[in-house]
């Protein structure tokens, strides 16, 4: 139902584009009235630009679709972007400004846990919901925070047993020295123990290391069959390149926690193959939902736009906000909270339910691996409920 309507819209849009050569919004469903402002605090400079841009792709599409469908209770939605420069302190300043000056009904973002934790008290004091859509370690709970991406159990529950069954049950954990990898490995240890496997080594590294040969030798010497790897960003790419050069990737399989399409192309042609991850969205999927979603993003952002799950989860956050306000029939900050609690939204990958108590999402997960220059689905894992870590 929803898919067909969107498709009709996309079709109408494409026709307009091609016949007139310029963008004209469909006149029939034009939203009237003062805009509903939604803030977005995201990194557009300072290191995590890639993720900021991914988030923006999803938010922009969601806003356009909401407005084409008549807005929220007749009012158009307007996104107010703020660059947090990948910095927690700046995030707080921008959030304060959005809450007091722009009077936004909610704020989407940020990307890092440090920025989110820094913003949380400001959000609670300003009684403004934060819609966080990045996968993280869990434990961000409160009336004014909603999480639209995965926590460790959702990413690991099926990935670890699959790797143990098909690749071997000797695991090595290697990641960056901060909270997300630590929580990931804690959870992985429980799963591996339950499966009768062993963790032959666990090790953390500071950010900014350029030379991983010593670690690679040690992992090789441990006889591990699976490497659970949680070193995000450029350092992770450097590690994988060196591990491949030094022959480690021929000896074990990598479960690359936190991997997404944003990494594709960073390893070079024919390299970084057969690395596994569990994600809430796979852009190369054949099903109509994801295919259609990718097409809608690329119609706006260009045919070579990278579409990772971050695009989908940020789209989801804003789309859910619109549904929540329509459901409550009122536009204010408390209405966002009331409406989101227990809400089920149709995402490109199927229904997503927001927990009434924990404010985290139950959503479909997919086991995927790198193949060629793509991330491809190995197995649809079905809906996975979060263990949000709310006391």
């Amino acid at each position: 139902m929803i898919t067909t309507r969107r498709r009709a819209l996309a079709g109408a849009l494409a026709t307009t584009l091609f016949t007139t050569g310029s963008f004209v919004a469909p006149r029939t469903a034009r939203a009237q009235g003062a805009p509903v402002k939604v803030g977005a605090v995201l990194p557009f400079s300072g290191g995590l630009e890639l993720f900021g841009q991914q988030a923006k792709l999803g938010l922009d599409l969601a806003a356009a679709e909401i407005n084409e469908a008549g807005g929220i209770l007749g009012r158009p939605v307007e996104l107010v972007y703020e660059d947090n420069k990948t910095d927690p302190k700046t995030s707080v300043e921008k959030a304060t400004r959005l809450i007091t000056r722009d009077e936004v009904v909610a704020i989407c973002g940020p990307i890092t846990s440090s920025a989110r934790d820094a913003m949380a008290p400001t959000m609670a004091r300003g009684r403004t919901p934060l819609l966080y859509a990045t996968n993280y370690e869990g434990g961000a709970c409160g009336r004014y925070i909603f999480c639209f991406n995965t926590v460790p159990n959702q990413e690991l529950a099926k990935l670890v047993p699959y790797l143990a069954r098909t690749k071997g049950n000797r695991f090595y954990c290697f990641g960056a020295d901060y909270v997300w990898p630590q929580r990931m490995f804690q959870h992985a240890r429980k799963l591996v123990d339950g499966l009768g496997g062993t963790i032959v080594g666990e090790e953390l590294t500071p950010f900014g290391v350029k030379e991983f040969a010593p670690v690679i030798r040690r992992i090789e010497a441990s006889g591990a069959q699976v490497l659970l790897f949680a070193l995000p960003g450029a350092d992770g790419i450097t590690f994988i390149r060196q591990a491949e050069d030094l022959g480690l990737l021929r000896k074990l399989t990598v479960g690359f926690l936190g991997f997404s399409e944003a990494y594709l192309g960073a390893f070079g042609p024919g390299r970084g193959q057969e690395m596994y991850v569990a994600v809430p969205f796979v852009a190369s999927a054949e099903a109509t939902g994801p295919k259609d979603f990718v097409a809608r993003i690329r119609a706006r952002a260009g045919q070579d736009a990278v579409v990772s799950h971050y695009v989908m989860t940020h789209w989801l956050a804003l789309t859910a906000l619109a549904r929540a306000l329509r459901k409550v029939g009122r536009i204010d900050r408390e209405a966002v909270v009331e409406g989101l609690e227990g809400l089920t939204v149709e995402a490109p990958t199927g229904p997503v339910t927001i927990g009434a108590k924990d404010h985290h999402v139950t959503l479909a997960m997919f086991l995927a691996k790198t193949r060629g220059d793509q991330l491809v689905t190995v197995e649809a894992l079905g809906p996975q409920a979060p263990e949000a870590g709310c006391a």
Binding site: L48, E49, L50, K210, G233, D245
Partner: protein, 284 residues
């Protein structure tokens, strides 16, 4: 427990790579005396020069040859526009070069996007050394580091230019009144140091993720290597790089990467205090 010789090779590789990275800094900081916090971004510029040249279809070697020239020019401009104007205010130089670093980094983001890129090694594959496969490009980088060391030593100690530069360092005023164009010498040395950074960036790029943040990780170890170096010349820098790079590699091999960074930092602080103490003693 017998030490695996491969680990020693790894340590040697890391020490030589660090020497290559720090050699430019040894010239700009060790010789010219400028604390250049944009050194990492000069490396970054070198790596992206190699990337741009490769994308233009000219291959890796052309990029490796062009990177020191392009970045040398960038260094020349940096000196002309910023550093020279703050010669008497070293603390402001710190801020200004950091600002220059931010400008270079965000320019790279604007031109090439925030994502990681790869540069394939010109000679892919590996050779078996000490019973383990060793990537050819690592050996190339190590060889290049030795070459740069020889070039630096020759320039400084066997040429008239080197003599003039050493003279200007030993006593700036005396050199100036003796008729040396000290400013021009310093500008030349700074551009040369920047060029070395560009070369290091292009040389190490195939071993790493090439992204706008890649320069940052090099800055601290390179400064440590130059700071603990006894004397500013190539030999001193080599010892500094061996202590910092080799030390970090070995501690990481026998303990953990976290401990390695801590140990190297702690070791550097102790060493620096002793050096500072000796200098203070001499001056008194």
């Amino acid at each position: 427990m017998p030490v695996d010789p491969v680990l020693l090779l790894d340590a040697l590789a890391q020490a030589l790579t660090l020497f290559l990275v720090a050699s430019g800094l040894a010239v700009t900081f060790g010789l010219v005396g400028v604390i250049n916090l944009a050194h990492g971004e000069l490396l970054l510029a070198g790596a992206y020069t190699a990337l741009a040249v490769e994308r233009a279809g000219l291959g890796y070697w052309a990029g490796l040859a062009l990177a020191p020239l392009v970045v040398g020019l960038l260094g020349f401009l940096l000196d002309l526009l910023v550093i020279r104007r703050l010669r008497e205010r070293p603390l402001d130089t710190l801020l200004a070069t950091w600002a220059a670093a931010l400008v270079v980094r965000q320019t790279v983001v604007a031109l090439f996007g925030p994502a990681s890129h790869t540069i394939q090694p010109p000679i892919p594959g590996s050779v078996v050394l000490l019973g383990a496969p060793y990537p050819v490009h690592r050996l190339l980088v190590m060889g290049l580091a030795l070459l740069v060391a020889a070039l630096l030593a020759w320039l400084l100690f066997a040429t008239r230019l080197g003599l003039m530069i050493r003279g200007a360092i030993a006593d700036r005023t005396l050199a100036a009144v003796s008729g040396l164009a000290v400013r021009r010498l310093e500008a030349l040395a700074f551009a040369f140091g920047a060029g070395l950074a560009g070369l290091a960036g292009a040389a190490t790029a195939p071993l790493l993720s090439v992204d706008p943040q890649m320069g940052l990780g090099f800055l601290l170890p390179a400064f440590l290597a130059v700071l603990v170096a006894p004397g500013g010349g190539p030999a001193g820098t080599a010892i500094g790089a061996a202590l910092v790079g080799g030390g970090e590699s070995l501690v990481a091999a026998f303990a953990s990467p976290v401990l390695a960074q801590l140990a190297v930092l702690a070791g550097a602080v102790v060493l620096l205090r002793r050096v500072a103490g000796r200098r203070a003693g001499r001056e008194r």
